[in-house]
């Protein structure tokens, strides 16, 4: 392994004067024994899946239960009306994140980033900033490797599972990964990417996993929306030169500790939080009958 935490990752990239994406690719070559071409081609295929999912979601989908779907379309129409208050790029990221998760809820094909429940954030932000930064295909692939590098650290030092660590581990991780990748694509330094990850994750700490009826729909789709907007904001903050007072690795560790102490009812069991609200319960009964 070339790196085990964010500090090592940033140091490596800065010493070698390469992107974080490059460090991830080098580690992948070392660990798997595959060639650079094979690895890049595989990520290219994942990128294509993401592209297709966004496109499908923007055309409008509905889940089997009817609980989710169509919000990405509403948001795109609203952006086109020219009345949007929070900025078109931000809302474009939000709508594309929603689009991906609506496809996921409809049991469509997606690429987990790092999980399926949080699969909207990374592609949502990528395909939105693409419109402004005009990256090459290779730069888009690098965006995903940078996300992978930060996600890799979180997965090995904390968790990326809602059942183990709550939504902070899923949408929280995805959001931090996306923020770091946006910074790198926009020309920020590896250190700034880590700052963006830290700022993002700090704002996701404590987020519980409380899916209504146990479905990856409510509130998951809208949490991806907020994850994308959180990532965009934190990326801009880091690019502006703002730093996190708590280093990224310590934020990741705090996330892990919070996950450890989170009650089971709030870790993907559909027993607490929004799942336990009167409406949440009513929806569960409507979908599955009285008791599962």
């Amino acid at each position: 392994m070339l790196f085990r935490n964010v500090a090592e990752l940033v140091e490596l990239a800065e010493n070698k004067e390469v992107k974080i994406a490059e460090i991830m690719i080098q580690q992948e070559i070392e660990v798997t024994g595959r060639t650079r071409e094979e690895i890049i081609e595989k990520m290219d295929r994942n990128l294509t899946v993401m592209e297709q999912a966004v496109e499908r979601g923007l055309n409008g989908v509905t889940s089997v239960t009817g609980l989710t779907g169509g919000d990405a379309v509403l948001l795109q129409k609203y952006i086109k009306s020219g009345k949007a208050l929070s900025g078109n790029i931000l809302l474009d990221a939000v709508s594309k994140a929603v689009a991906t998760n609506e496809v996921n809820a409809a049991m469509g094909t997606i690429c987990a980033t790092p999980t399926a429940g949080s699969a909207g954030v990374v592609p949502g932000t990528l395909f939105a900033v693409k419109e402004v930064l005009n990256p090459t295909r290779m730069e888009m692939i690098e965006f995903l490797f940078t996300s992978a590098a930060f996600g890799f650290v979180v997965a090995n030092n904390a968790s990326i599972s809602g059942a183990a660590g709550g939504c902070q581990a899923e949408v929280g991780s995805a959001s931090g990964m996306a923020a770091a990748s946006i910074v790198e694509m926009a020309g920020g330094t590896p250190s700034q990417a880590a700052q963006a990850m830290a700022i993002t994750l700090k704002n996701m700490l404590g987020l519980v996993c409380d899916p209504v009826a146990g479905l990856v729909e409510v509130p998951c789709v809208k949490r991806n929306a907020m994850g994308a907007s959180n990532a965009m904001t934190a990326a801009d903050m880091a690019l502006a030169g703002i730093t996190s007072r708590i280093p990224c690795d310590e934020v990741i560790n705090a996330m892990f500790q919070i996950g450890q102490t989170m009650p089971s009812a709030l870790r993907e069991t559909a027993e607490g939080g929004l799942a336990a609200t009167p409406t949440g319960r009513r929806l569960q009964e409507q979908i599955f009958g009285k008791k599962q």
């Binding site: 392994m1 580690q27 049991m107 996300s147 890799f152 090995n156 870790r267």
Partner: protein, 220 residues
């Protein structure tokens, strides 16, 4: 390090809605199918923890059965797996367990046909990554940090040394190894964790040894 590859994080490509409860579940089902070696007549599936609580919403049931039908995580037939299993003549029995397990996403799968059976316990640790923690009552302790193979063989003298001889011939160093059997002289298994990549040539050579029933890559 439980996660080794960039594609554990960006991936898998899968049918929604949940990487741990759908894709991970499908992968565990498929490992059971691969180890069993063929389509079973009966599949008994016990769900624990979050799997037990939310399996319907996440499609965990269709995913596991899809895996048992040898479907990959992105196979678009997964949503219809229960019906397809019925059509294929597989009897599927689901049990929801209350027992608290070490990991919240745990499933026990027993596949059988006539006298033959196979039982394993799998956990889905997030993002579609899985671990097999028990096989035929034999606890597997795989760290996931190094390449590992599972060798199913006949419990006879010389089989273990034949396997290790081939590994040593290819300059592959064994870091950790466990051997177990159910009954003297019957089926036995070896779990071998090594430091180097085991390529196809070595796998083929191992498979060609007498008294070897099956060799499976557990960790690449």
């Amino acid at each position: 390090m439980k996660y080794r590859s960039a594609f554990d994080i960006i991936g898998p490509v899968m049918i929604g809605p949940s990487s741990s409860h759908t894709a991970g579940a499908a992968r565990i089902g498929r490992v059971a199918r691969t180890l069993f070696g063929k389509q079973p007549a009966k599949a008994e599936i016990s769900l624990y923890g979050s799997f037990a609580k939310t399996y319907k919403g996440h499609g965990t049931d269709v995913a596991i059965v899809g895996g048992i039908l040898d479907f990959d995580t992105f196979d678009e037939r997964i949503p219809f797996a229960l019906k397809l299993a019925e059509e294929a003549g597989i009897e599927v029995i689901f049990t929801v367990e209350d027992t608290v397990t070490d990991h919240p996403n745990t499933v026990r799968i027993k596949l059988s046909e006539g006298e033959r059976d196979l039982e394993l316990v799998g956990i889905s640790i997030g993002g579609g990554t899985i671990e097999i923690t028990e096989l035929n009552s034999f606890e597997l302790k795989l760290t996931g940090e190094h390449p590992a193979i599972l060798v199913v063989h006949n419990d006879q003298f010389g089989v273990i040394s034949a396997v290790t001889n081939i590994l040593s011939k290819h300059r592959i160093n064994i870091g950790h190894m466990e051997v177990s059997r159910k009954e003297k002289g019957k089926m036995a298994i070896m779990v071998i964790e090594v430091d180097q990549k085991i390529d196809e040539e070595v796998m083929a050579e191992l498979e060609g040894l007498p008294n070897i029933t099956q060799i499976i890559r557990m960790v690449d």
